[in-house]
């Protein structure tokens, strides 16, 4: 009887999901409600989790509840701690959720809501969730080893080296790009700049409060920090209205970039307790709360999507970024569908907390589903805006023109009507002087989120507060990532340089700290500066570069996973990792080829450089000395981006080839199918009530 009920319920869920996906895919020329996207997502996740993750858990990975995990075997109360599965789920989700699933879908919305939504659902259920799940389990079975270590042991030294280079590259490119998102959101915005500037003294205050006044009371300190940040958000409007104050907080993109680079360096060298840790707590607190209220807001308001299912820009002529829907939609949305960066978290802190192997589907697969749902919410926020307004905010001046009337006319001529007076009203409503040319996705997401919130809480009068709350929320995320990413990059660099000269590897030696911090911050700072100088807004060239680097890391993760599955004598199931691997190879290699060699200067780095070379060598009129200098730098940047892309793709192609060679040797019997798993040790948690209680308390 129970099984019949189960079959009926799951048949209904699958049918509802299918009907919802059909509704969002088939509707053309009429607006649909956002709830169709929510329903399609929830049903897809439910079916994926109930059937696909269970299939992988039972047939491929053979999860064993009797096997002791490293959290139990190596328990030390510090890194290795058996922890309740829901607690680990929250911990893991807080670590993987960042600005990526918010920004990527907003940028990809230029194709319409359909391509991005389908990719988020299919990519997550069949790819991203699988990657996070299997890497987590394989790391657990190897005492919590990192992706780089697993790549080195299971594939070979080349795999380990490539994983290391890919991780460093992705960190550098990621930090440069997300810093650019903040710069574009805050430029000429005294309100936003004041709010974000205030988060620095607030974080410092939290650090001192936590260390000297209320030791260990992190939640209390985070609530206090949140109240102070909210006061800064509200107070920002008075700063913006007072000309003397506004003057100091109205900064150009160059000034903001310089300040962020200086901040990144300072944050990387000051004590952790003073800035990094409290900012991380504050950011996590705001992140979890905002994601929750955004979900409630969308479900309560059930907004209508004004963006069409598909726009004319699927042909590659989009103003937000250039490139056709394949492959660019699939590298623009990484976090939310498949993100290689998650494999670092799945092989970092999380495997050291899991109590039983049978909890890994919920943590690995489940947390990625939650992240994917955040991406769906971002897509909804972007697509509830009027498309004309969306394109006015996200299009760079180099494409639509600097003057408001010119930009509005250009966008209207694309078939997305917008009036400059409407944009002026919208800017006034959110407390900004202008919303034109705010590329990067963050301001568009903030407007969409503010519109959703304004319809549910406080009405239009609170629109400006909600907008600046959303900007603060995203910028806070990003500055936290700059702190943490610069530190992680610095440590990786110190570990590597320590092999060349031992003192450089000493993490407490100040000259080494300063040198390696300078190297990491200087590297992402260079990409940031390059983006700020880019007449096309920077996002056009840098976000795809980040997407490519992130997906290339996912390729390395899938190579490791496939190799281990083959060595487990489960070759008949390798399609669970080979299918997303093949798709990612097709997407990233195609995208890389286009980014390097495409003859359209808006897409190809080299053809853009060639266009600039022609301008430099043009006969009449000769460029000025300043323009000549600028052109030379832009040409260098284009060529540098092309080289970075080519090197990354080359290294990952070598890893794929090396992995394929390992697979061939194992499958043909030329090499023993030996994995580097830790030996089986039976769990004691099932036998001892005390330990079992400890694990869940």
């Amino acid at each position: 009887m129970r099984s019949i009920t189960s079959v009926l319920v799951w048949s209904c869920v699958a049918a509802l999901g299918m009907f919802s996906v059909a509704a969002i895919a088939i509707h053309r020329g009429e607006q649909i409600n956002a709830m169709w996207l929510v329903l399609a997502a929830v049903c897809s996740y439910a079916v994926g989790y109930r059937f696909y993750s269970k299939f992988i858990a039972a047939k491929v990975l053979a999860l064993d509840p009797r096997r002791a995990t490293p959290a139990e075997r190596l328990e030390n109360g510090r890194d290795f701690v058996p922890t309740n599965k829901w607690v680990v789920f929250g911990h893991h989700f807080a670590a993987i959720a960042g600005p990526g699933p918010l920004v990527g879908p907003v940028l990809a919305a230029q194709f319409g809501y359909l391509p991005g939504t389908i990719w988020i659902l299919v990519g997550a259920v069949l790819g991203g969730c699988v990657q996070d799940f299997v890497i987590l389990l394989f790391s657990i079975r190897r005492d919590g080893k990192s992706l780089s270590q697993m790549a080195k042991e299971e594939i070979g030294p080349l795999g380990g080296f490539v994983a290391f280079v890919a991780v460093i590259s992705i960190i550098v490119i990621l930090l440069g790009v997300v810093a650019l998102v903040v710069v574009n959101a805050l430029k000429d915005s005294p309100w936003g700049t004041f709010t974000i500037a205030m988060t620095i003294p607030i974080a410092l205050f939290m650090g001192v409060y936590l260390r000297y006044w209320r030791p260990g009371k992190v939640l209390e300190t985070s609530v206090l920090g949140f109240v102070l940040v909210m006061m800064a958000v509200v107070g920002g409007q008075w700063v913006a209205r007072a000309p003397q104050m506004a003057h100091y907080f109205t900064l150009s993109a160059y000034w903001l970039a310089a300040l962020i680079i200086v901040y990144g360096f300072a944050a990387s060298v000051v004590p952790v307790w003073l800035l990094l840790a409290p900012r991380d707590y504050l950011s996590t607190f705001v992140k979890l709360g905002t994601i929750f209220i955004l979900a409630v807001g969308i479900i309560a308001i059930r907004p209508t999507l004004h963006m069409p299912a598909l726009t004319r820009f699927i042909d590659g002529t989009g103003p937000v970024f250039a490139g056709s829907v394949f492959p660019f939609a699939f590298i623009t949305i990484a976090c939310g569908a498949i993100s290689g960066f998650h494999s670092l978290i799945s092989s970092g802190t999380t495997p050291k907390l899991i109590t039983r192997e049978t909890e890994t589907p919920m943590v690995g697969y489940g947390a990625m589903m939650a992240e994917s749902f955040v991406a769906i919410m971002a897509m909804i926020a972007a697509c509830t805006m009027q498309p004309g307004q969306y394109f006015a905010i996200n299009s760079p001046a180099g494409i639509v023109g600097k003057a408001p009337e010119v930009a509005a006319n250009t966008i209207t001529s694309w078939g997305f009507p917008v009036l400059s007076s409407d944009m002026a009203s919208l800017a006034k409503a959110v407390g900004e002087q202008t919303l034109y040319n705010r590329t990067g996705g963050a301001p568009a997401f903030a407007v969409g989120m503010a519109q959703i919130f304004a319809h549910s809480l406080g009405g239009e009068t609170l629109m400006a507060i909600w907008y600046h709350f959303a900007i603060m929320f995203e910028a806070l995320f990003i500055l936290t990532i700059l702190d943490a990413g610069s530190r992680v990059g610095r440590f990786m660099l110190q570990d590597a340089l320590g092999h060349l000269w031992q003192p450089l590897g000493r993490t407490s030696w100040y000259p080494s700290i300063v040198a390696t911090s300078g190297l990491i911050v200087g590297s992402w700072g260079y990409f940031l500066w390059q983006g700020v100088k880019d007449p096309l807004g920077g996002i056009n060239s840098l976000w795809p570069l980040f997407g490519i680097a992130n997906q290339l890391l996912a390729i390395v993760a899938f190579c490791v996973a496939t190799t281990i599955i083959i060595k487990m004598n489960k070759a008949r199931f390798t399609w669970i990792t080979l299918a997303p691997l093949a798709w990612l190879v097709a997407v990233t290699f195609t995208a890389s080829y286009h980014k390097i060699f495409n003859s359209n200067p808006r897409i190809g780095f080299l053809s853009h450089a060639q266009t600039l070379v022609r301008e430099l060598n043009g006969t009449a009129p000769a460029p000025t000395a300043a323009r000549t200098h600028e052109l030379a730098r832009l040409i260098f940047n284009d060529r540098l981006d092309a080289v970075v892309t080519a090197v990354l793709v080359f290294l990952v192609a070598l890893t794929v080839a090396d992995s394929a060679w390992q697979w061939f040797r194992v499958l043909s019997g030329g090499k023993a199918a030996e994995t580097k798993e830790a030996p089986f040790v039976p769990t004691r948690l099932g036998a001892s009530p005390e330990l079992a209680h400890k694990a869940v308390s």
């Binding site: 260990g216 939640l219 979890l288 990484a334 980040f546 992130n550």
Partner: protein, 59 residues
């Protein structure tokens, strides 16, 4: 029903305490046999520093 709500609330608090390192601090105090104080928290932060610094935060 009340018990269920209570359990959910307890779980939520436990999750937040883990995310915000309060549980890690409690474990540290229990392991070292110390009471919460500035000195104890400073010692915890020193021990925790390496973990926090190397903890990646995703995009």
């Amino acid at each position: 029903m009340r018990e269920r709500i209570h359990n959910v609330w307890q779980l939520l608090v436990a999750t937040l305490r883990e995310i915000f390192d309060e549980n890690a601090y409690s474990r540290f105090l229990a392991r070292e046999g110390m009471a919460s104080s500035r000195m104890a928290y400073a010692a915890f932060l020193r021990e925790r520093e390496a973990v926090v610094q190397r903890r990646p935060r995703c995009c």
